[in-house]
C-alpha cells in the first residue's frame, strides 16, 4: 500500500523535519517571540551559528524531498487516491467514532480523520517553507513577505506553521504507539 517513493520521502522528511524543528527552536531561543524558551535538551545546534547552519542546510533537503513527494503524489494519483475525498460528513462521523475509540486505524484505507490530518500537515509544511522563505529573504522576495503581512508577521506565521506540524507529530506518534503495525507498513510497504 505504501509505494517505495512514499516510504523513502516519508523517512527523509522525518529526518529533515527533526533537524528543522530542533535547530528552529534554538534559533527561536536567540530572540523568543513569546514569553518562553525551548529547553536546550530539545534543541539542535549548541549555539545560534550552528543552529542556523543546520537550518539552512536541512531546508534544501526538506524542500527538495517535499517537492519530490508532491510531484510523485500528484502525477501518480497517489495523493488523490489516498488522501481524498475530504467530505465534512465523513470527517464528522469518523471524528466522533475516534473520540469513542471506535475508529479503525488502517494503513490500507485511511479513515476520513486521517485523510484530513495528512492533508493539513502537508499544507503546514508548505506554509512553513513559504513563510521561511519570506523571513530568509524579506528584501529579495519582498512580494512574498508582503503577502504574509511583512517580516514580523511572517515570523509568527513561520512559528504557527511549526506549531501545527509539531501538534500533528504528537498525534501521529501517539497513534503509531497505539497501532505499531503501521510502523512496519511504512518500512516494508506491506500491510
Amino acid at each position: 500500500m505504501y509505494p517505495l517513493i512514499a516510504r523513502i520521502t516519508h523517512w527523509i522528511n522525518a529526518a529533515a523535519m527533526t533537524v528543522m524543528i530542533g535547530s528552529g527552536w534554538q534559533i527561536y531561543n536567540a530572540s523568543p517571540l513569546f514569553p518562553f524558551a525551548f529547553p536546550s535538551w530539545l534543541t539542535l545546534g549548541h549555539w545560534l551559528g550552528a543552529a542556523l547552519a543546520l537550518h539552512f542546510a536541512a531546508m534544501w533537503l526538506l524542500a527538495a524531498n517535499f517537492a519530490l513527494y508532491l510531484g510523485y503524489g500528484v502525477i501518480s494519483g497517489h495523493i488523490r487516491r489516498r488522501l481524498f475525498p475530504l467530505r465534512p460528513r465523513e470527517i464528522w462521523h469518523d471524528a466522533m467514532a475516534a473520540l469513542r475509540f471506535r475508529l479503525p486505524h488502517d494503513s490500507a484505507q485511511y479513515n476520513a480523520v486521517q485523510r484530513l490530518l495528512y492533508v493539513l500537515v502537508g499544507c503546514g509544511i508548505a506554509l512553513a517553507i513559504v513563510s521561511g522563505l519570506a523571513i530568509w529573504k524579506p528584501v529579495q522576495l519582498y512580494p512574498l513577505t508582503l503577502v504574509l503581512g511583512g517580516y514580523e508577521v511572517a515570523r509568527r506565521v513561520h512559528f504557527l506553521a511549526m506549531s501545527g506540524i509539531v501538534a500533528f507529530i504528537v498525534v501521529h506518534l501517539t497513534l503509531v504507539a497505539i497501532v505499531p503495525s503501521t510502523l512496519r507498513h511504512m518500512i516494508t510497504g506491506r500491510t
Binding site: Y28, H46, W47, G49, A53, K137, P138, Q140
Partner: protein, 245 residues
C-alpha cells in the same frame, strides 16, 4: 533580544573554524545518516559546504534593482536596540576630530578621510528595517554618503570581489561588491538626523539594508577593496558570510 554574554559563553566553548563541533548528538546523526558517525569534523565540512552553497544562491538571488522597503518616520523603533558582541558599558568612544578613515587595496586614491571630508560629500538618508540574525527587527533612520559614490571617488576597482571593514571596536566585516554598489548601501554618519551616537557606531557605520544586522559594522576605521576573502568577526565563527535579506 539575546544577552550578548550568551554569545560569548557560546564562543568561549569554540575554537575558530570548529564552530559546529558537537552540533549534532550521535543520536541525531544516526537518524540523519543511518550510521554512527563520531567524527564531528565531517558534520563541520558538510555544513560549511552548504553555507558556501547558500552564499552562491544568495548572490544569484541578489538584485541591485531590488530596494529594501522604506517606512514613514512614525514607524521608527524608539528606543532603537543596542546590539554588539560586547555590553553597552563597553561601547568604544571614538574622538571624531582625531578619527581618520583609511582606504586601501584596489583603489587609486589612498589618502585618509576626515569626518569633514565625508560630510562635504552629497548625503542620502533612508528609513529601513534592520533585521538581526537573532530574528528581531527594528526600524531606524540613517543618513550619510552612498557607498557607491564613495567607491567611485576613491577609484575603487568595482570588478573586485570584496570590500572589507576594520573597526575601532576590533570588529571586522566584509561584503560582496554587488551589495557595496547597491543604491541603499550607505556610509552612515547620522542616526535620526543627528550624528551617530557612540552606541550606534560613531563616527561612521556601514548601513546595508539588504543584509542582516551583523553585516553593518560600526566605528569603521579602515576600508579595503580586495579579491582575497576577508571573512569577518562572526563569519569566522560560522555565521553565513553573504547573509542577505
Amino acid at each position: 533580544m539575546i544577552d550578548p554574554s550568551l554569545h560569548r559563553r557560546g564562543l568561549r566553548r569554540e575554537s575558530r573554524r570548529l564552530f559546529l563541533r558537537g552540533t549534532l548528538s550521535i543520536g541525531a546523526l544516526s537518524l540523519l545518516t543511518g550510521c554512527n558517525l563520531e567524527d564531528d569534523d565531517a558534520v563541520d565540512r558538510v555544513l560549511s559546504a552548504m553555507s558556501r552553497w547558500n552564499d552562491t544562491v544568495q548572490a544569484a538571488l541578489f538584485s541591485r534593482a531590488r530596494m529594501a522597503p522604506t517606512y514613514p518616520e512614525a514607524d521608527i523603533t524608539d528606543p532603537f536596540p543596542f546590539n554588539a558582541y560586547y555590553k553597552l558599558d563597553q561601547v568604544r568612544h571614538v574622538d571624531g576630530a582625531a578619527w581618520r578613515l583609511e582606504v586601501s587595496g584596489l583603489v587609486t586614491e589612498r589618502r585618509p578621510w576626515t569626518l569633514a571630508d565625508l560630510a562635504a560629500l552629497p548625503q542620502a538618508s533612508q528609513i529601513t528595517r534592520h533585521i538581526c540574525i537573532e530574528g528581531w527587527s527594528a526600524i531606524g533612520k540613517w543618513g550619510g554618503v552612498p557607498f557607491r559614490d564613495f567607491l567611485a571617488r576613491v577609484g575603487a576597482d568595482t570588478r573586485a570581489r570584496y570590500v572589507s571593514f576594520r573597526c575601532a571596536d576590533d570588529y571586522r566585516g566584509s561584503i560582496d561588491m554587488a551589495t557595496a554598489l547597491h543604491k541603499q548601501t550607505l556610509l552612515a554618519l547620522t542616526f535620526r538626523d543627528a550624528p551617530l551616537p557612540a552606541m550606534y557606531g560613531f563616527p561612521m557605520k556601514l548601513r546595508v539594508p539588504t543584509k542582516l544586522g551583523f553585516k553593518n559594522p560600526k566605528h569603521i576605521i579602515a576600508i579595503e577593496v580586495t579579491n582575497v576573502y576577508p571573512g569577518g568577526f562572526w563569519e569566522d565563527y560560522g555565521y553565513n558570510w553573504f547573509s542577505g535579506s
